[in-house]
Structures are given as structure tokens and as C-alpha cells.
């Protein structure tokens, strides 16, 4: 599959800005799928998205400020008022429920999709500015990634057939 960067393959470039368990899915699903369809794929992880490059991910989901998040419960779909979602322990409960559903429905884990992305030669780029801003140590991130800035993304994007900001 993945030819080198000099190939004539179509290409896709993603900016990944969100690092919660739910928002981690769209970029990794698209990246792995595009790579499996022969595209050259690059992902630029910035701000909260950078957490998805941590060696140890501890992803969480919250219903706080997310009225569209309705979980299947007792045959219904139930949302959660902010007042309840803000209470201690409710976030980890929601995360546990989500992870349970993910496993039950045969949906890949983010760890698994990230591994697939690496195997599929997806280019993973962490944002240097985000490292500095949030005082993240380089050695907490995966070893086999690049660290770069906006110009690197722009150069990628210029060549890419698909550009998405997620």
C-alpha cells in the first residue's frame, strides 16, 4: 500500500484539535480508512488533539455542554442535564458507559486505530507550539512522530486532495 511521499497517490491531510474519547474517532477512522484505500495521509495534532499522541492515552467523554449526547438506556435515549453531568464521578461513569458500548458494538478502540494508522504509514505530526504552551514533555509522546509547526501543515495541505479540520 503506502507508497513514498513522491508517489502519485491521492492524499489527505487532517488537523486534529480535539482529544476527548468521542472526538478521537473521526480523525482516526478517516485516516486509517484513507490509508487502506491507498491515500497518503498526514495528521497534524494541535491543542487538545495532541493528547492523542501521548504514549499512554487516558481518554474521557463528558455529557457536560453536550446536549446531543444521548445514551441508549432502558430502551430509550437519555440525555444528561448539565447540573448532573457536572457532578463528581459522572464524567468517569459516562466514559465507562461509552467504552462499554464501543466494545459491545465491535467498534475499534482508539489505541487500536492509532496502531493501524502507524502501520498504514500515516504521517503523525505533533504541534510544537502546543508542547510549549501546555508544558508537555516530548518523551511523553510517541517516539516515531514528527514535531513541527503550521508551515509544515500548510505545505501538506497544499498538496493534499482532501483537507479536513476536526
Amino acid at each position: 500500500m503506502p507508497e513514498e511521499n513522491t508517489s502519485n497517490a491521492k492524499s489527505m491531510s487532517l488537523i486534529v484539535t480535539k482529544g476527548s474519547l468521542d472526538w478521537a474517532y473521526p480523525p482516526f477512522i478517516l485516516a486509517t480508512t484513507a490509508a487502506s484505500m491507498g491515500l497518503d495521509v498526514s495528521m497534524f495534532f494541535t491543542f487538545y488533539g495532541l493528547g492523542l499522541l501521548q504514549k499512554k492515552m487516558d481518554l474521557e467523554v463528558t455529557a457536560l455542554g453536550n446536549p446531543a449526547m444521548k445514551m441508549p438506556m432502558a430502551g430509550m435515549h437519555i440525555g444528561m442535564p448539565n447540573l448532573i453531568a457536572a457532578m463528581p464521578g459522572v464524567g468517569s461513569m459516562a466514559t465507562g458507559m461509552m467504552k462499554n458500548m464501543i466494545e459491545k458494538k465491535g467498534v475499534a478502540s482508539i489505541e487500536e486505530l492509532r496502531e493501524e494508522a502507524i502501520e498504514g504509514d500515516v504521517r503523525l505530526i505533533g504541534c510544537q507550539m502546543t508542547l510549549d504552551l501546555f508544558e508537555i514533555k516530548r518523551d511523553t509522546l510517541l517516539d516515531n512522530i514528527e514535531i513541527a509547526g503550521a508551515a509544515t501543515y500548510v505545505e501538506n495541505a497544499l498538496e493534499a486532495d482532501i483537507n479536513l479540520f476536526i
Binding site: S36, M37, G38, G106
Partner: protein
């Protein structure tokens, strides 16, 4: 009978496609792969996958909630 079988039952998007791609990668040109899946989204997705990759979708059918796809490696 296909040259190779892939059981993708119970797997959700995009795993059937990712598994199929891995299987095809290891096959000879001209060889065929039969995939069984339970993800209804796989029907459209294997069509798109084959259009983009140039592999040939020889057959696609459904019975008892199991979708079967037959793909011939062309490239």
C-alpha cells in the same frame, strides 16, 4: 471458492475495510478474497473501496444478516 476467507463478522466501521485491505495486501494479483461481515454499512463501503483501489468487486450479497463480498485483487 475464493482463494482466501476473511471473517469480519461483529466488526464495525472501519474495521472490515482495514482487515480486508490487510488480507488483500498479502495476496497475489488475480487472487480472490471472500469477506463475511455483519456491518450493513460495509455494503456501500466495499463498493467505494473497490472503486478507489481498483480492485474488482465480483459479488456482494446478503443472507440471514450476513453480508458476503467477493473481491479480486487486480493491482
Amino acid at each position: 471458492m475464493a482463494d482466501q476467507q476473511l471473517d469480519a463478522k461483529g466488526l464495525n466501521c472501519p474495521l472490515p475495510i482495514l482487515r480486508a485491505k490487510k488480507a488483500i495486501k498479502g495476496m497475489e494479483t488475480g487472487a480472490t478474497l471472500e469477506i463475511e461481515a455483519t456491518d450493513p454499512g460495509a455494503v456501500k463501503d466495499f463498493e467505494a473501496f473497490c472503486r478507489v483501489t481498483g480492485n474488482e468487486l465480483l459479488d456482494s450479497n446478503e443472507g440471514d444478516g450476513v453480508y458476503k463480498f467477493l473481491i479480486k485483487k487486480t493491482g
